[in-house]
Symmetry: C2
Subunit: 484 residues, 2 copies
Amino acid sequence: MKELLIELDVHAKISLYEQIYEYIRRMIMDGSLSCGERLPSARLLAVQLQVSRSTVDAAYAQLVSEGYLKAKRGSGYFVCDVGALFHFTAGHDREKGDNDFSKQRNAASRVTQNHSLNMIYNFLPGQIDDSGFAYNAWRKCAKEALLDLETSHRLLPAGHPQGEYELRVAIAAYLCQARGVHCEPQQIIIGAGNEYLLQMLAQILGGPRTVAMESPTYLQAYHTFCNIGYEVKAVPMDMEGMQTEKIPDEAMTLVYVMPSHQFPLGTVMPLRRRLQLLTWADAGSQRYIIEDDHDSEFRYKGRPIPALQGIAAQERVIYLGTFSNSIMPSIRISYMVLPQPLLAEYEKRCGFYASTVSRLQQITVCKFMEQGYFERHLNKMRGIYKAKHDLLLSLLKEKQWVHRIYGDHAGLHLAVELNCMYTEAEIIARARSYGLYVQGMSECYLAGSKKPDKRPILLLGFGSLTQEHLREGVKILEKCMIYK
Amino acid sequence: MKELLIELDVHAKISLYEQIYEYIRRMIMDGSLSCGERLPSARLLAVQLQVSRSTVDAAYAQLVSEGYLKAKRGSGYFVCDVGALFHFTAGHDREKGDNDFSKQRNAASRVTQNHSLNMIYNFLPGQIDDSGFAYNAWRKCAKEALLDLETSHRLLPAGHPQGEYELRVAIAAYLCQARGVHCEPQQIIIGAGNEYLLQMLAQILGGPRTVAMESPTYLQAYHTFCNIGYEVKAVPMDMEGMQTEKIPDEAMTLVYVMPSHQFPLGTVMPLRRRLQLLTWADAGSQRYIIEDDHDSEFRYKGRPIPALQGIAAQERVIYLGTFSNSIMPSIRISYMVLPQPLLAEYEKRCGFYASTVSRLQQITVCKFMEQGYFERHLNKMRGIYKAKHDLLLSLLKEKQWVHRIYGDHAGLHLAVELNCMYTEAEIIARARSYGLYVQGMSECYLAGSKKPDKRPILLLGFGSLTQEHLREGVKILEKCMIYK
């Protein structure tokens, strides 16, 4: 067993666990550690390096999950055969965010260029900025929540199946004020992520249904519908969002839309179109609209666009929101506002499910909202994201290879239609060979519906990138477009 | 608006929020607050009483959820018409535990006796003791987890879809040592509760299936299967658990069992029967056994019984475990060990789902396990529960009205078969009229399968009760059995 002489730099920009990870990865790649060799135990290495056990664990875990090491129970960690391995580094957590990670990883592993394949520039959509987060306020709220729950003997027992009442009150107030959503706390169900709530919703609605979706769309929702046995029909989009008159009539009772800021196109559905959609819903007693309002917190120009739910037909709209973008992806708290008529069905079919979110997390978020931190955090992040958005937009604006930009002035990514000699897949592969990861629009279309335009469209997420990385990233993209 | 002159006693046994709750409830019940009257805002009352806002919120929330108050957005809290209301008090959270709460509430509200209807003695199964919890250790682990995640930049981004690798390592080690389960961390999926994992499992297995269940059984699982479109067949039980030879053959590919400690009967399946079950599973390429090992941590006599998963056919058993009983119900962390052949299906169909448990909670539990607190906590709780179990058993042993006791020496409840002139429903109603809540065995049978014996069987949960309450509770039960 080789001793690992890792010199850690506590002042470095990258964390200790990444430093350990990177050191070992390099030793494996340059042959200093060879296949089958055994590594020191995490406990021992932690003592040697004077870091916490979990720091070493995290580094080892990442090396295992990327195929550099193999853990054998009871005997420790061993170096894998990396001869044919695709080298995928760092930003692992971040990349996963809300994306179809395994798909991306598969796509990435198909890239066999000779360049360094480390992800240096993460332009994947769904990434958030973690430098601006209100860590102190969060820590304070978490501490208070823990003490409160202890004092009131609410820490251990399961809470209300729909989620803590206090948090539902806070969410209802926020939705009313910020999104124009009208609801009582009794209509809110808090759950561990949108996909979980969609699965529950299917049980509330009962029986398999046919659902109309925008195409391109948010694929997580699409795959969830497929998994629970729903038939999904793609409805074409224009610059005003889903073309409501093209919703196929046959047996369609459900529409899933993102009217305030469509993913991935960034389209905003105008009022006329919204009313058409509500008219469609009113025409059948079992028709419902699922409004996914995933990132409407971040709008950089003009007034916020109120939710469809608030317009009129509150009995036809199921509103879905999440704290993934507005607080943090790791928190797994989403919420669903059920129309009154569905509440009895919820109670009957799903009322027995315990809440899927821990009470402690719920009360922490509740305090974060009640004490005004949430609003301040959103205001701050809006400023941070706006600066990044404006910079990226200005960097792209006069480029010959940029044909058109969609979805600007909101959200955490831009959709950029290209003028260039490569296909979308080629551009993505070329960019990856420079360490720049980006998603293509084609990936967001439902099976059976294809991107109509032949021009490549890239989704450029700017959430987690620094100004410097944004500048360098655009230079790399230019290189990918122009040179052979 | 009436001023509420609540005198709080900070030294009282019941928490501040319960005191406020109880004070207002009494005022409503005795007419001091009448229907339609408006209450002071939570903010104002918190200032008046010099307590935190969330304490008042919690009291109001409970009053709303129990139908004493109605919240009107923007205008505050108003007293409801309680003329015909069933009065259901305190222990609200606790009662919910893992039970079918709304059902119990409905059952409770059918009771129309003239006694006080407050729940004083909570004998419902699934209740835990919160006085023995390692609050200090938990607080320490939560604090460390928060700092660790911040330092390593892992607090905000979403983690691994299967759950944090460190926690999966800790769970695998625990399962191997304590339950004889053989698995790699790569086979573990961490999720927000057993019901969520069963829903995911259905998606991994693909297509609707027919599942065989013990009857009586854990109804949450039964209702979950029904909700996702599975056909459920009841298999009769004897003193050795599910009668494997009676598993109907037609198209049956799934069996859900609790071999180590069946709920609610407490049966332990002997090895011979276990091997029969594994033989059944081996006879079809698509056959799987779901082993729910929900509370095997608490066994008070003899050696722990190893899990079915560890015996031999690890490719046929899907193992389910939870921290609900062993740590706390509010935490919502369960785990599922998939056999190797199902891992590829998981990756394909469900790999895109983000983890449903927050990273912070996962790392807190991980530290709780790694630093030895979990083991110490289990040992301590086993002692606490054993003392309660032994006391309850001794109190029941010589009673004429006790015909037989099932499921002793393990778990958090006893199943008590009665010798008395009342039906099960009558006994339960009589007990409730004295403030004693208890569940009947009949409720645990699947639709279409009935309790064979005509003698009433009560499930007496002892987890959350003090010795004094256990003694008083048994006296009350005796009163219910004997006197008219």
